[in-house]
Amino acid sequence: MDVERYVVLLEDAAVSSAPNLLWRAAGVRSAFPAELDATALAPDEASLLPALGVAIARCDPDQASALSRCGGPVRLVQAERRFRALVHADESNPGVAAAWQASAAATVAPHWSLPLADTFFATWGLQAVGALASRYSGHGVALAVLDTGLDFTHPDFAGRGVMRHSFVAGLPPDDETGHGTFCAGVACGPLQPHNAPRYGVAPDADLFVARVLDAHAGGSDADVLAGIDWAVRHRCAVISMSFGNPVAVGDSYPQLYEAVAARALAAGSLLIAPAGNQSQRPDNIAPVEHPANCPSIVVVGAVDHELCVAPFSNGGLNPDGGGVSLVAPGLGIFSAAPRPDLYQTASGTSMATPFVAGVAALFAQADPLARGAALRARLLAACLPLPDPARDIGAGLVQAPQ
């Protein structure tokens, strides 16, 4: 049987008793780092990191399973993730590698083997952001998706109480284009979809759907602003807006949108918007577009299955809010589609944005006092550093609270 390394997250009070626990439950002998080097573990050995409340155990899957069944002092057991991109960073940028190692130990994210791929159980995006291991589901958090609406008859959303409103004259909130259904699916699709792997980050969030885009997935300022106003009025902690329009290098942010975003933030609503898809990397990098380029809006870039910046993802070329805040999965993303298709796969910073919205809802559930700027700070502080430049990835890959 294959022997791998597992990260065992312990309750704070359980570290001192961990050697006994590991031995009794799984036959794993443990020691503290001064006695045993975690990088040179033999089978059936573990190294304890008391400051983090973590043990790194080298054992087979049966032993890991036995540990995970312990309950009580063992909060989580995860196969150690492998991060190929940072093997290179390890050689060229020790600072980034050290930051990643610290973050990896602290976040105890799922097993990673790059490139990430959709599985029978969950999409690659959910694996990348750590949603599967999170003990939060978005319960009690109001999350608004401003888009083309939603297919409310979709089996994955039917029966779910969804607040809805259309701000587009003459059109109902029912989605016929698929863009809104897709984004709502990524942000808060169900824990167990009808006939698909899990694709939603915050399945228990209270979903608010505002239609602000028409049948061509375009929308006017008046409708977008009305949608933001509606979401703020309903005290939505998170507002996901997967749209924008291009700006030029040197353009400043729009003062009106910044005033609106700052007021939403002060009222406890965090606006999240895509960086845009105009880049053709590596030769051409386009600036973060409007309205994401406002300082008070969280700007989302896209990464691929190898956690490298997606070729289309815009970069932080302009000052004063024109930077990328963080990145999320945005290439080959699987999510819901209006009937009869039910599911679809798409790429874009549109697809990355609701990942961040969903993770923000998890953070909002984890700390009911974290709203507005405090919620934004939580999101950014938890990001996983990646090797690409901050111009393209900001604080790094968004990570769910565990």
């Binding site: 929308g219 300022d221 009305a226 749209f243 924008g244 729009p254 009106l256 005033a259 874009g348």
Partner: protein, 81 residues
């Protein structure tokens, strides 16, 4: 001249200043007096929606309590095609 006529009226959004948010209706009235056709008020974010004649756009920006005026633009979804 024909092009000017075609865009003689512009859809705009008007943000009021933080100080003027409590009296947004007064600001709206002052805007209307300068040619602003007011269609809706977004109280939560302190914005007036409406339209204005091309020639009145500059005047609207000088109304006391107005922080910013944006001429409407369209946003598009960010699917990569």
């Amino acid at each position: 001249m024909q092009a000017r006529t075609a865009i003689s009226r512009l859809n705009v959004a008007v943000a009021v200043t933080d100080e003027a948010r409590a009296r947004i209706r007064e600001v709206a009235a002052a805007c209307r007096a300068r040619g602003f056709e007011h269609t809706s008020t977004l109280l939560e974010v302190g914005v007036l929606i409406g339209s204005v004649g091309w020639s009145d756009l500059r005047k609207l920006r000088t109304v006391a309590g107005v922080a910013a005026v944006e001429v409407e633009r369209r946003s598009l979804s960010n699917v990569y095609r």
